[in-house]
């Protein structure tokens, strides 16, 4: 019985970890998408490469920070 419970706990813990990892990979990808789209939009509006890159980096960092915060609150 002990072995079954231990096995179930192990499976549950593994699934949670895999899920969390997938979620953070997914969120990372979304932040990357936002950064790329912010860059493209800035270029379309006639911004210099420097300004478009600065905007993109700022939004990427803010997105990562917000993701980290929401993960922290959920925990």
């Amino acid at each position: 019985m002990k072995k079954v419970i231990l096995g179930m706990v192990f499976v549950f813990a593994s699934l949670t970890l895999v899920n969390a990892e997938n979620e953070s990979v997914n969120e990372l990808a979304i932040c990357g998408e936002i950064a790329q789209e912010v860059f493209d939009d800035a270029i379309s509006q006639g911004e210099s490469y420097e300004n478009a890159m600065n905007a993109s980096e700022a939004f990427y960092q803010s997105c990562r920070w917000l993701t980290y915060l929401s993960d922290f609150i959920e925990q």
Binding site: I30, G32, E33, I34, A35, Q36, E37, V38, F39, D41, A42, I43, S44, G46, E47, S48, Y49, E50, N51, A52, M53, N54, A55, S56, E57, A58, F59, Y60, Q61, S62, C63, W65, L66
Partner: protein, 247 residues
């Protein structure tokens, strides 16, 4: 005796006339009508929220323009504590291509933007004469000064084409020093307010004949590049950054 008195008077007059004028101007910056568009509603909401935070932080930015007769130096006041992370601060400080130190010399017509980027300092060399102003008769009072409007075009070239952005400056002939913020100058008076793309600089304090002690040093340390070369450098850096996101 009379001759000595007269000579002394002349000497004092010449000394005070030749004494350098020190002017200290503080500018504030607004991000106006800054928008980033995204087709996805959820992403747009997130972007708007982040953008609002950035706009709020931009209200506390201060830039200083120091003038010493025929030279000036414009730079961001780094000592201020701004509630923003490093990347956000870089974005709002640089918005409108106003990051770095701008050195102007009305005698030699030199205009140098000294910019630190990815561990390297670049001195972007151009000339005050490259700014072609159209002076207008339109005037308005800003603070105590009668200001006149002047217009020019800021050209930006990127992968989407060549963009001509209108620049509107308000200058005060009462302060006959042809300087201003973010490398704009060459007008018959100090630029009190300037607006282009999505930024607006406006003076918050003008100290004529200030007692503040400062020295204007022409930037020499760093790699000298033209505007076009700098554009190519930043294009490569931007591509590298975007590639790193895809890994």
């Amino acid at each position: 005796m009379k001759i000595i008195t007269l000579l002394s008077f002349l000497l004092i007059s010449i000394t005070s006339f030749s004494q350098k004028k020190n002017i200290y101007v503080t500018y504030k910056k607004d991000l106006i009508n800054y928008s980033i568009n995204n087709k996805n509603a959820e992403k747009q909401e997130a972007i708007n929220s982040m953008l609002n935070d950035l706009k709020n932080s931009s209200n506390s930015l201060r830039y200083n323009l120091i003038i010493n007769d025929y030279e000036s130096l414009f730079s961001f006041e780094k000592k201020l504590v701004i509630d923003a992370d490093e990347k956000s601060l870089t974005f709002i400080v640089n918005a409108g291509d106003s990051g770095g130190d701008f050195y102007m010399n009305t005698k030699s017509k030199e205009l140098i933007r000294s910019k630190h980027l990815s561990g390297e300092t670049f001195n972007i060399i151009s000339s005050i004469d490259s700014i072609k102003w159209e002076l207008t008769n339109e005037s308005k009072k800003i603070g105590n000064f009668d200001c006149y409007k002047a217009k020019t075009i800021k050209v930006v070239e990127n992968s989407k084409g060549i963009f001509n952005h209108t620049v509107e400056a308000w200058y005060a002939p009462e302060i006959p020093f042809g300087f201003g913020p973010a490398g704009y100058g060459g007008l018959p008076g100090l630029i009190i307010e300037i607006q282009y793309q999505n930024v607006r600089f406006f003076t918050s304090k003008i100290e004529l004949n200030t007692k503040k002690v400062f020295k204007i040093v022409k930037p020499t340390k760093g790699k000298e590049v033209t505007k076009e070369e700098y554009n190519e450098i930043t294009k490569k850096m931007a591509n590298d950054f975007l590639k790193s996101l895809r890994k």
